[in-house]
């Protein structure tokens, strides 16, 4: 039999699933003792070039509260044309179209290699994708210009039949009519007045005119779609028009007095965007894309006042309960996010500013709807430009790497229940037999809505073993989980992807070694980290750390403790939100990089090699490449830097030095090419101010405190009071053996 590592790899490749345990403890009690819960990371739309979708409807179990999809784990009686559901043991007969099946003529969904299978189904008329740009005009001229260019460029990347809309905002909000010839028309709203969805729809003319006696009623969706045409138009029809419109876009003309921030009505702009979509295209794939260059400063959803002398809230303010607008704004955006999620619309936030932009308050918009958050310093950076371009990247089939309106349903076999999910989704509040009372993450349901998905979107699923200790699972019994994801493909097809996995049950008392060896350390690290982040979002920081420390004594946790996901020190609230946002949706590999950055070393002494993320790795004759997911740092050691300054790489005889310098650049480029969002790229050297990015990540084994005590000359001392791994470990050991834990 293959090693567990191979097994894990194989499973991940086929199903996009990584489990914390690959043998499951067979009783609730034992599962609890294992600390790390039975859980998995699941990437619903994992790219599978080798998986052709089938063009028919899945066969469902006929039991009303089961409805599981026929899968390779089901027992099939080919003669009687009957199959037994492996979740509820209901016996079902095959539909007439399956009349011809036999052992040698099996449909794809019964074959073991199709434990993940995708169906293309017909569900109503296809609806085009919708992209609604919500653009902040309170930007510096240069930024606005760059943004305009990016937006104009993006028009060429959209599918030609996609509907596109434009809302601009500053002190006022303008929603632009795109269909008109001649005069450019827009509807204007003031940024201070909260409007109900009904009012917005009325004001945009999405209501039927009031007939005698009765108030205006919302139009039937079809009529509304026609009426809304003035705001949402097919790209191919308004390409030129919109390009001109974007070209003529001016900075917000209202004067900004000295000592004030520009008035930015982000809150109302978003509520109008969401109101427009919910009034016209409910339950249709749509992206609201917010481009903002600063915090909302007026109206509902305002994050900071317009007085420059009052700075935007910091963690300090929040801890001291000094952030006046925080609660109100968060509540406001949460309400908006929930409305968008209900209608299946997702919200992206592209925030580019040197200061904070209110991501902390607005993050739920993207977190609950599966939208992207991209944070940068300026729209005029390649970070933004390329990341934005990458939103519209296409897969090997030439189709967009985005899917909409997904619902994920989880079915479990009887010994198992689903506790919850952590990822960019909202609960659909569907109760069912497989829903656990014990919530972890977003729980209490067996269905979740994921308004927008990419192939990388990864959810963490937590299960509860409900089998009682005194009711042992028969030997060789297997626990099974089925994930059914229905979604709108970017080519507007409705599709259903079904993944069915199974793991063996094991008795923890007799087979503890087996269970131990089935432990997937990487997956567990990420799964636990997600739990930590989920708690950190909702609870006070130190408590979470203490919880984590109690839960786990593992090596990687040292870095997790230091990571921006749990530590808010040195990070603004916006940055924390940003980091956490990405952490709860990226796949395992990326998540691991986020927890423990990767450090590569390039030197004349051998091929590039990964080295310890430790200050001792910082040597003068090395080039280091650190990938923290969000940053990509190339660090030239002291000697290398001097050589480079002296220009040796220009000389023919030092061609090898030139190659050495080039190697990390090429590697970095490769990472830059594939990652979303594009990381911040930093090229620095010993003593450079930007070197802090590296120094803050490495394990401070040498600091100014112990430099001489350590007594070695290798490595670079870090000026920090943080404890090093060594100290951490010593402390842990002490704790681990003390009974008072």
């Amino acid at each position: 039999m293959a090693t567990y590592q191979e097994f894990i790899q194989q499973n991940e490749d086929r199903d996009g699933v990584r489990c914390s345990w690959n043998l499951w403890p067979s009783s609730r009690l034992e599962a609890t003792r294992l600390v790390v819960p039975v859980s998995c990371l699941y990437t619903p739309l994992k790219e599978r070039p080798d998986l052709p979708p089938v063009q028919y409807e899945p066969v469902l179990c006929s039991r009303a509260n089961c409805k599981a999809v026929l899968n390779p784990l089901c027992q099939v009686d080919f003669r009687a044309k009957i199959w037994a559901c492996n979740f509820c043991f209901q016996r079902n007969s095959f539909p007439p179209s399956y009349a011809g099946i036999s052992e040698v003529n099996q449909p794809a969904e019964l074959m073991p290699q199709f434990s993940t299978i995708e169906y293309i189904v017909q569900r109503g008329p296809p609806t085009p994708l919708i992209f609604l740009y919500v653009v902040d005009t309170c930007l510096e001229e240069e930024d606005l210009q760059a943004l305009k260019e990016s937006l104009q460029m993006s028009l060429s990347l959209l599918p030609p039949n996609a509907l596109v809309g434009l809302i601009t905002f500053g002190r006022m909000i303008q929603i632009h009519e795109l269909s008109c010839e001649g005069i450019a028309k827009s509807y204007v709203f003031r940024g201070t007045k909260e409007l109900t969805p009904k009012q917005i729809q009325e004001m945009l003319g999405l209501m039927k005119p009031a007939t005698s006696g009765q108030q205006g009623k919302p139009l039937a969706p079809h009529d509304a779609a026609a009426a809304s045409c003035i705001f949402l138009q097919p790209v191919q029809a308004v390409d030129m028009n919109l390009t001109d419109l974007l070209g003529e876009l001016q900075r917000d003309p209202w004067p900004v007095p000295q000592g004030k921030r520009p008035l930015r009505s982000t809150g109302i702009a978003l509520s109008i965007a969401i109101g427009l979509l919910e009034g016209t295209f409910p339950n249709t794939g749509a992206r609201v894309m917010l481009f903002t260059g600063g915090p909302p400063t007026q109206g509902p959803g305002m994050v900071v006042g317009d007085e420059l002398k009052t700075p935007i809230r910091s963690w300090h303010d929040i801890q001291k309960d000094n952030a006046r607008h925080l609660k109100k704004a968060t509540k406001y955006y949460e309400a908006l996010a929930n409305r968008a999620a209900v209608n299946g619309h997702s919200v992206d936030i592209y925030a580019c500013a040197l200061d904070q932009t209110g991501l902390l308050e607005m993050k739920c918009l993207s977190n609950l709807t599966g939208g992207h958050i991209v944070m940068g310093d300026s729209f005029n950076t390649s970070l933004f430009k390329q990341t934005f371009q990458r939103v519209f990247s296409k897969d090997y089939n030439g189709e967009f790497r985005m899917a909409f309106g997904g619902t994920l349903e989880v079915k479990t076999s009887r010994e198992l229940k689903i506790s919850g999910v952590i990822g960019p989704c909202v609960s659909l509040n569907t109760k069912g037999p497989c829903v656990s009372d014990n919530e972890m993450g977003v729980g209490g349901t067996c269905q979740w809505k994921i308004c927008s998905l990419t192939p990388a979107t990864t959810l963490a699923m937590y299960f509860e073993v409900v089998n009682q200790h005194n009711a042992p699972v028969p030997q060789g019994g297997r626990g099974a989980v089925q994930f059914v994801t229905q979604y709108q493909h970017s080519n507007t097809q409705r599709r259903i992807r079904v993944t069915t996995i199974a793991r063996n049950w094991a008795d923890a008392q007799s087979q503890i070694q087996h269970i131990e060896s089935s432990f997937d350390q990487e997956a567990s690290a990420v799964l636990m980290a997600r739990l930590g982040v989920f708690r950190a979002e909702s609870e006070e920081g130190p408590d979470v750390l203490r919880w984590l420390d109690r839960q786990l004594i593992r090596l990687f946790m040292f870095h997790l403790r230091r990571s921006p996901f749990l530590q808010v020190f040195n990070n603004s609230p916006d940055e924390s939100s940003y980091y956490r946002h990405h952490f709860v949706r990226q796949d395992l590999t990326q998540s691991l990089i986020m927890i423990q950055p990767i450090l590569y070393s390039y030197s004349f002494y051998g091929p590039p090699e990964p080295v310890l993320l430790d200050s001792s790795s910082i040597l003068p004759d090395r080039i280091l490449l650190m990938d923290t997911f969000f940053q990509l740092v190339i660090y030239h050691g002291e000697t290398i830097a001097q050589w480079r300054k002296a220009g040796y790489q220009e000389m023919a005889e030092y061609e090898n030095f030139k190659q050495l310098l080039q190697a990390p650049l090429d590697d970095a480029q490769e990472i830059l090419q594939t990652r979303f969002p594009m990381p911040r790229y930093i090229d620095t050297e010993h003593g450079g101010s930007q070197a802090r990015f590296l120094l803050s990540k490495v394990n401070p084994s040498q600091t100014h405190n112990n430099l001489y005590a350590w007594g070695q000359e290798s490595g670079a001392p870090i000026l920090t009071d943080d404890v090093s791994l060594q100290v951490f470990m010593d402390h842990l050991k002490k704790l681990a053996v003390s009974s008072a834990a």
Partner: protein
């Protein structure tokens, strides 16, 4: 104004009363002025079936639905009035012989009638309405003499004739310039053409007073009941041969003023102590002369530079205002004009939108400016609306205008800052493109609902944002029923007419507009409203903001591009181009003893003295009433100074000063000798028209009659030489008071016919409140010009005839104008040649009654006639649409409404009847 479409066909009773009149007339002696001997009853032409009365039949039609009055009754009625043997010959100028007494004695013997007649039927059908308490017209107890055979009637020619008075005044005063230097001198009548030389008092074009010799004390004033008022038109245009007010700059410290009462330097300031101080003519306070203003006095005590300085020698002049006179102590921005155009279904369909947009393209070149060679500083902005508002960005740098829709009408705001108000020449291309596109964009609109309050709010907010004063031109079509602030209900309820609740119809139905008007005034936002209604739009409410901000209302009921375009465009052109001041405050200061107590016009007052006018154009008049608070001296007379602080169209802050001095008298006779009836009527009309807001109309009418009777009774008692009680004696200056008062009483506001809409009445009510004396004169007593004997060589206009049907010749053609309409009345027997000359057709039957302009024919008569029409139009502030009225055509009833000496079909008394009634009132007061 009453236009042909609103009125529909006349009520049945009208036709009947006409017929009665005609019959009566034939019985009563020779017709005057060579009119045809007999008028066939025309009532037959109006079959009741043709009468298009949508509403209920007016009550009086029932009353008179009875068979025609018998000849005998009629005769008796008329005979009850008899001109005494001393009456002058009917040939007009006859009563000139009484001029030595400056009074007219008109003797009316009133005989008692057989009671039954008087009870059952008053002398005047419908007269029982207005004076219900006195059904018996004849006052039996006073009848001194036994009844002679009742064969004669009161000859209309024997009662004072307005035409005669006008012509006499022209002859006596029209030839020489009127110099204002003499205190207490009454100016020529408004109908007389004359030149004014400013020698220290304001020209009568700026100020006209009811009395140029005021009583010294309040007892006299109370006794006489003559109103003491001045009708002030601060920015009145002057004829080309008169100099406009000089502009005086007193330097950085601002105009020199009295320390106490703050009166501005004027000819009434007395310099003393060798010129080092001056004593205020108003409050007698002594003020230091600032060093830079010092000048030596000559031997008469006058400053040596007296004639070099307008403020020391002229009645009217302007001061440059300093920054202290500016809002927030900031030099004002140049004003802005904002055009707000209704683009709802009705407005598009009747062609208004297209016409306005087309016209604005050229009109914008003629924005007001002080120097005709320089471009106007005024910026312009454009808004269209139905139930949402569309603002336009017309910034010069744009290739195309941009439209911004604001649908949040509940909470109005201006969606853009830059590019809304622009300079015409810079943004011309974009503006023209916009004006071309507006009619296209809304050509297929199906939106019928409109808002109104938010429209004004939008303009106001735009001016606030731009921090300037300005004027809104609102082109509006319908009752604003869309959900928005200032939303209105249709409350037109004819049943309330004639009841005590009638006044509520003149009051605004919501208070929203009053509040809005206040805000507008604070910002200096003047609102002009052009209405194009097809039905009730509630002018009383929509007009609140215009009338409180110094704006105007124009109303084009059933607007049709083909027939009303010319009138509308001329009004619009004039309205846009006319000189005006912005963000104005007017203050009237008077010498100790009298005080300005009441003001009438289009303005807002937040305290009792300052008249705030968001805009003040050259046509606007403010009438001020004065009352005694102390005694005046005959020596010094009474002084008044009207100061208007305003921003000129170029953005300059200025003060216009008008000074007026009148005499004071201790003898009532002096008062009556120096009155101006036209001004008194102007005051009375404004007073009465305002009173209808608070009192039942009947009370308003009664008190008017009563005051008038008191004025005349006081004269009779104190000034006239003793004579028989049966004689009606009128002061020379006021001999037209009864006829004019009657015209006021029977005007549509105070005595509505069944065919006049509430909107029309509200419109007229507001219109009269800003009229000057010449406008009110012609409005109440229209000018009727006979054309058949027109001298095509002469440049003068023919002598008018009195407004009575008796004066119309069946063979004649007449022109009637009242400042709002022009009628061309064509008699059925008009000569073919005359018709050929005017209409190009010899046949009466072929004249098209729908024509709105006369064909341009190449004959001297046609040319001269059209010239006359043009010159008449040029005299009025509003363009008058021409209507051709053929005798015996149904339109004639409208025309007859303006023959104000006749009894009207809504119950208005004829001149003669009213005079009799007046006489009776006077006699009652005297006994």
């Amino acid at each position: 104004m009453r236009g042909p479409p609103t009125s529909g066909a006349p009520p049945v009773s009208g036709a009947q009363s006409y017929s009665q009149f005609g019959q009566g007339e034939t019985q009563n002696g020779p017709p005057p002025m060579g009119a045809p001997p007999q008028r066939p009853p025309v009532s037959q032409t109006y079959t009741p079936g043709a009468v298009n009365l949508s509403g209920p039949q007016p009550p009086f039609s029932q009353q008179f639905g009875a068979p025609p009055v018998s000849m005998q009754q009629m005769t008796n009625q008329m005979a009850s009035m008899q001109v005494g043997s001393t009456a002058p010959s009917p040939a007009g100028p006859g009563y000139g012989k009484y001029l030595c007494f400056c009074e007219l004695i008109c003797l009316l013997y009133i005989f008692s009638l057989p009671g039954a007649f008087g009870q059952v039927r008053g002398p005047q059908p419908g007269y029982t309405g207005p004076y219900p308490g006195q059904p018996n017209y004849g006052a039996p107890p006073a009848a001194p003499a036994p009844a002679p055979p009742a064969t004669k009637r009161l000859d209309p020619d024997s009662v004072p004739s307005p035409i005669q008075v006008i012509e006499d005044d022209k002859a006596n005063k029209g030839s020489e310039p009127f110099t204002t230097g003499v205190r207490g001198q009454a100016p020529p009548l408004v109908t007389t053409k004359f030149q004014v030389k400013d020698q220290g008092n304001a020209s009568p074009r700026y100020i006209r007073c009811t009395a140029y010799n005021m009583p010294c004390n309040s007892d006299m004033a109370k006794q006489s009941q003559v109103p003491l008022a001045a009708v002030i038109k601060p920015l009145a245009p002057l004829p080309p041969d008169e100099t406009p007010p000089y502009l005086v700059d007193h330097g950085e410290s601002g105009p020199i003023r009295c320390n106490r009462c703050k009166a501005y330097m004027c000819p009434y300031m007395q310099f003393i102590e060798g010129g080092r101080r001056f004593q205020c003519g108003f409050c007698s306070c002594v003020t230091e002369v600032p060093p830079h203003y010092f000048q030596h006095l000559d031997h008469t005590g006058k400053r040596v530079d007296c004639y070099d300085r307008p403020e020391l020698s002229m009645g009217s002049y302007e001061f440059m205002a300093t920054v202290d006179y500016c809002k927030n102590n900031k030099i004002p921005q140049p004003p802005a004009f904002i055009f707000l155009i209704d683009v709802s279904y009705n407005a598009v369909k009747n062609g208004m939108v297209g016409i306005v947009c087309q016209e604005l393209k050229t009109l914008l070149d003629y924005l007001p400016r002080e120097n005709p060679d320089v471009e106007s500083n005024i910026r312009v902005g454009f808004v269209t609306y139905n139930k949402v508002l569309h603002f336009y960005n017309v910034k010069a740098s744009l290739a195309q205008p941009q439209m911004m829709v604001v649908s949040d009408v509940a909470d109005m705001f201006v969606p853009l800052l830059d590019g809304f108000l622009v300079n015409v020449s810079e943004s011309r291309v974009v503006i023209e493109s916009l004006l071309d596109q507006i009619p296209e964009m809304f050509a297929d609109t199906r939106e019928t609902e409109t808002v109104f309050g938010p429209v004004i709010q939008a303009g106001l907010e735009a001016l606030k944002a731009a921090d300037c004063a300005g004027k809104l031109f609102v082109f509006h079509s319908s009752l604003p029923i869309a959900e928005a602030p200032g939303k209105l209900k249709n409350r037109e309820d004819k049943k309330l007419v004639g009841t005590d609740k009638e006044k509520s119809l003149f009051q605004p139905q919501v208070s929203f507009y009053n509040t809005l008007a206040k805000e507008c005034v604070v910002q200096g936002c003047c609102v002009d409203l052009f209405l194009f209604p097809n039905q009730y739009v509630d002018v009383a409410t929509l007009g609140v903001v215009p009338t409180s901000t110094g704006g105007s209302i124009y109303k084009y009921t059933y607007f049709q591009a083909s027939s009303d375009q010319e009138r509308f465009l001329n009004d619009l052109r004039r309205d846009v181009q006319k000189p005006m001041g912005f963000d104005a405050v007017m203050r009237v200061r008077t010498s100790t003893g009298i005080r300005a107590t009441d003001f009438f016009g289009s303005f807002y007052m937040s305290n009792t003295t300052d008249v705030e006018l968001a805009g003040l154009d050259c046509d606007k008049t403010v009438t001020v009433e004065f009352r005694h608070d102390d005694k005046l001296s005959e020596e010094t007379g009474a002084l008044m100074q009207c100061a208007v602080l305003y921003t000129s169209c170029s953005g300059q802050r200025r003060l216009r000063i008008h000074n007026m001095a009148v005499n004071c008298c201790s003898q009532l006779a002096d008062l009556y000798r120096n009155c101006e009836t036209d001004t008194v009527i102007n005051f009375f009309a404004k007073y009465a028209y305002r009173s209808v807001l608070s009192s039942p109309i009947k009370n308003v009418r009664d008190s008017l009659v009563n005051q008038c009777a008191q004025i005349l009774a006081c004269y009779r008692k104190n000034c006239a030489s003793p004579s028989s009680a049966g004689q009606l004696i009128l002061p020379e200056c006021m001999k037209l008071l009864p006829v004019y008062l009657n015209c006021v009483l029977k005007s549509d506001v105070l005595q509505p016919g069944a065919d006049i809409s509430l909107d029309d009445r509200a419109y007229l009510r507001q219109l009269v409140s800003t009229m000057d004396v010449s406008e009110s004169h012609v409005f109440f007593y229209p000018r009727l010009l006979p054309l058949q004997k027109l001298d095509v060589e002469s440049i003068s206009v023919p002598v008018a005839v009195r407004d009575s049907e008796e004066r119309l010749s069946r063979g004649g053609v007449y022109l009637l104008e009242n400042g709002l309409n022009i009628f061309l009345w064509v008699g059925v027997n008009a000569q073919q040649e005359l018709l050929q000359n005017i209409f190009g057709t010899p046949a009466f039957g072929q004249i098209d009654p729908n024509m709105t302009s006369l064909p341009a024919l190449d004959n001297p008569f046609s040319k001269r006639l059209r010239e006359i029409i043009e010159s008449v139009r040029a005299q009025r502030s509003r363009y008058m649409k021409l209507m051709v009225v053929k005798q015996e055509d149904k339109l004639e009833l409208i025309f007859k409404h303006f023959l104000v000496e006749d009894k009207s079909n809504n119950g208005g008394a004829s001149y003669v009847d009213f005079l009799c009634h007046m006489h009776k009132e006077i006699r009652q007061l005297l006994s």
